[in-house]
């Protein structure tokens, strides 16, 4: 034997039994069947895995795989039928528990069986493409237990019942729920969806439909939203605890639909508690909640935004067209700023700084600010007030903040050139009367305007500042070269470049002798250094400080306008003067003179002049004399300086006219610019382009543009196309 081993090997006889016995298969199967029974009855401890495995192995090897497979299915099915009867018999509460228990047992047994039958799983089933043992086991469970008619409906109802209980506040066994639901998931995605998820979603939908109807009848908007939010978080919690995560989206969309989407309009428009009410009362928490909830449904935010926009426009329109409010421009603008701040805060805190809401806010403001044609004027007046006195004592940072806010309102204006005109007027008055609180603030605002509108906008304003500076230098030069003038009245001259400053017609006025001498000296000095220029005195804009001694010897220093000074100086020579005499001597025009006399004689506490008769208005027959009994607490008395006021009607008309006039060349320039580059353009396009170009300054009127085009055609800048009358051509 050993020799044979060395030379070649012999295949020894096949050690395994050659099966001849037909009953072999049956016998083997019986062993296995018994074993499966034992496993199912929890009685497997005495079994030998190896033995069973070997038997199964042998069966498959000897081509009895078919028998093994079908036997396995039959046995398991029989067992499961029995089990389902047991489960069904379970009473009320323990039904679910029984099911759960049996399911766990089944799983364990299935695993054991699968291990034993692993060889069959690997070979026979692979080759015949049948279902593997484990999935087969699950399917059998599904078919025989879950889909067993009596169990099926009862199971579903029990589960839905429990969910319902939990929704009404009872505590349920979540662990048990989780296991049972997991069973569905293990049985397959479709089983879960068909047998549980779909009915669950339907039932939930019903439940929320009813509940939302109940709530909306009884609660106000804020409370309803709180409840909706609570339910939403509850459902998400429920999914986390015992449902398939994929269900989260589905159930939340059900809640959203029933509780929010279906009642959206009603909620937003609810009387006394809807969106408008919340906005008015700064209910940030409620607003935030509404935002978060509505964000989840389509068009939710759109609805909120629309209602907010229409409310803003309504409110804004009321604000700007209210005649009461228009009485005080500073109030008016302050109110606008306050409203804007308020809504800004709402959007920041409650709406998470949502850009779409910001845009809605901006467009609403733009809409109603421009409804009142006096808005540009009022904004300029507001700034004027602040720069004169409102900024006293406020830190630099705060000043910047206020100016930035004003800039924000400025941006909303469509007629920015109107603003420019008024601002120039007010700035001139401030500069000349020396009434600016802070030079830095003024300059800072100019810079902001420049950034916003470009150099062109602010060049003249800057020119005004330069003039003031230059004048200081000139005065120094003048007194430096005329030392003899240090005695006698002091003259301070501001030389204004005509183009930069708002033009006023020069008003005639006879200056008293002492003053006019000085003026002449200054004129010759100035023209000595700057030839080719023309100076004209603006007497309506000047001020004077006069020392006066009254009857009882009281000395006062009076700060008056130039006109007032002329009038007062006349009383140096006579005690009593009639209106006509004053008029003749000073040559001041009647309306100005009347105003001037009124402030001198009729203002309580400041009447340095007495009038006869003692009426409020100045009449042409009145006569005036010095008020010897004049007293004042202070040494320095200020008398009626002209303060920038709201314009009277005729003044307003005049300003507007001037603005319109200024616009004409701007429109023309724009037209020429466009045509030069395009050469040929049709009517509608020209209008569109011109409007776009001029938009930063003002809203161009199409009729006006048409007129300008006609004018340009007359002047041979453009021509009409001979064939198409709507086409224009540029003429070089």
């Amino acid at each position: 034997m050993s020799n044979q081993k060395k030379r070649n090997f012999q295949i020894e006889a096949f050690k395994h039994r050659v099966v001849v016995d037909p009953k072999y298969a049956d016998k083997t199967w019986q062993i296995l069947e018994r074993a499966i029974h034992q496993i199912y009855n929890q009685d497997a401890s005495g079994l030998s895995f190896e033995e069973l495995y070997r038997n199964a192995y042998n069966m498959v090897l000897h081509k009895f795989g078919e028998k093994l497979y079908s036997g396995f299915i039959a046995t398991m099915t029989a067992h499961l039928k029995e089990k389902s009867k047991l489960i069904e018999a379970a009473q009320g509460g323990s039904f679910l528990e029984e099911l759960n228990k049996k399911w766990n047992e089944h799983n364990k047994a299935l695993e054991m069986i699968r291990d034993i039958l692993m060889y069959m799983d690997r070979t026979y089933i692979e080759s015949t493409k049948k279902t593997h043992v484990h999935p087969m086991g699950l399917n059998l469970w599904r078919d025989n237990v879950v889909h067993f008619p009596k169990i099926h409906t009862r199971l579903l109802n029990t589960l839905l019942d429990l969910v319902q209980k939990e929704r009404t506040g009872e505590v349920i066994d979540r662990g048990l729920m989780r296991n049972v639901i997991k069973m569905f998931m293990d049985l397959g995605e479709s089983v879960y969806q068909e047998d549980f998820e779909k009915p669950f979603l339907e039932a939930s939908s019903e439940f929320y439909k009813v509940e939302s109807q109940e709530f909306i009848e009884s609660c106000d908007c804020g409370d309803y939203l709180k409840k909706a939010e609570k339910r939403l978080t509850e459902e998400i919690d429920r999914v986390a605890h015992y449902l398939d995560p994929k269900s989260e989206e589905k159930i939340t969309s059900v809640v959203e639909k029933e509780m929010i989407a279906n009642h959206m309009q009603r909620l937003v428009h609810m009387e006394n508690s809807g969106l408008v009410n919340m906005l008015l009362n700064d209910k940030y928490e409620d607003l935030g909640r509404m935002y978060n909830l509505f964000r989840r449904v389509t068009n939710g935010l759109l609805t909120v935004r629309d209602v907010m926009t229409s409310h803003l426009r309504e409110m804004g329109k009321q604000l700007v067209t209210d005649p009461e409010k228009s009485k005080d421009p500073v109030e008016y603008v302050q109110r606008l700023l306050d409203e804007r701040d308020k809504y800004d805060k709402v959007i920041n805190t409650a709406f998470g700084n949502d850009k779409t809401f910001q845009n809605a806010l901006n467009s609403s403001f733009e809409y109603f600010i421009n409804l009142n044609a006096r808005s540009p004027e009022f904004i300029s007046l507001f700034v004027d007030d602040k720069l004169r006195k409102g900024l006293k004592g406020i830190t630099d940072v705060d000043v910047e903040v206020i100016l930035d806010k004003v800039m924000m309102l400025f941006r909303y204006l469509q007629e920015k050139d109107v603003f420019e005109k008024y601002y120039k007027q007010h700035l001139a008055k401030r500069l000349l009367s020396g009434k600016t609180v802070s030079d830095d603030a003024e300059r800072s605002l100019i810079v902001k305007l420049k950034t916003e509108c470009g150099y062109q906008f602010t060049s003249k304003l800057e020119g005004m500042f330069t003039d003031m500076k230059t004048s200081e230098d000139t005065m120094r030069g003048f007194y430096g070269s005329h030392p003899e003038l240090s005695e006698g009245p002091t003259l301070i001259v501001q030389v204004l470049t005509t183009g930069s400053w708002p033009t006023q017609p020069a008003v005639p006025c006879n200056l008293p002798a002492e003053v006019s001498v000085l003026c002449e000296k200054f004129r010759s000095y100035y023209l000595g250094t700057h030839t080719g220029r023309r100076l004209s005195w603006q007497t309506n804009m000047g001020t004077a400080d006069i020392k006066a001694v009254f009857g009882k010897g009281q000395k006062h220093e009076l700060n008056v306008s130039t006109f007032q000074m002329c009038v007062l100086m006349l009383f140096n020579n006579s005690d009593r003067l009639s209106y006509k005499e004053i008029e003749q001597a000073t040559e001041i025009p009647a309306p100005d003179l009347k105003r001037c006399l009124q402030s001198l004689a009729c203002v309580k506490g400041k009447n340095v002049i007495k009038k006869e008769p003692m009426s409020k208005d100045i009449g042409e027959e009145d006569s005036f004399f010095v008020n010897d009994k004049f007293t004042s607490k202070f040494y320095k008395v200020k008398i009626g300086t002209v303060v920038a006021q709201k314009e009277t009607e005729p003044e307003k008309q005049e300003t507007r006219q001037r603005v319109e006039e200024d616009r004409k060349p701007q429109i023309e320039a724009a037209i020429v610019r466009i045509m030069k580059s395009r050469k040929i353009l049709d009517h509608n396009n020209i209008i569109a382009e011109v409007t776009k170009q001029l938009q930063p300054r003002f809203l161009a009127n199409p009729t006006e543009i048409k007129k300008r085009i006609e004018s340009l055609i007359e002047r041979d800048f453009l021509e009409r196309d001979s064939t198409d009358r709507k086409l224009y051509r540029y003429l070089a």
Binding site: A44, S48, F49, E50
Partner: protein, 123 residues
């Protein structure tokens, strides 16, 4: 027992003793016992035995089969020399997976039975 069988038994024990760490206590945690058709007992590491999928299922299957409780598996169909070779294979497999790539020599006359056993044990 014949002389040859005796020799084989001693050899098997030697092999086992060479490879395993503890022989004194056959706890369920560390070692398992494999018994061949003639009754030879091979005590090897649990880790080595788990190379075979079948043995692994036996030992880890839920349900309390006797094998997992006692840590003893009987193979009435596998002869001793084959079982011995299989144990050697287990250890060689572990070594190979750890990087030590040596050769595993199979005597030609064992081939067929070895294959059948391998099929059975899903190794």
């Amino acid at each position: 027992m014949t002389k040859g069988a005796e020799k084989k038994q001693r050899k098997a024990k030697a092999v086992a003793e060479k490879k395993e760490t503890t022989t004194t206590t056959t706890t369920m945690r560390e070692t398992v016992k494999l018994i061949s058709m003639e009754g030879f007992e091979f005590v090897i590491d649990r880790e080595a035995a788990m190379v075979s999928h079948t043995i692994r299922s036996m030992l880890t299957s839920p349900g309390g089969f006797s094998e997992s409780k006692d840590g003893v598996v009987t193979f009435p169909d596998i002869s001793t020399p084959i079982l011995e070779k299989i144990c050697q294979y287990f250890y060689w497999s572990l070594q190979y997976s750890r990087g030590k790539e040596t050769e595993f020599h199979i005597e030609p006359e064992l081939t067929l039975e070895l294959m059948m056993a391998a099929n059975y044990l899903h190794t």
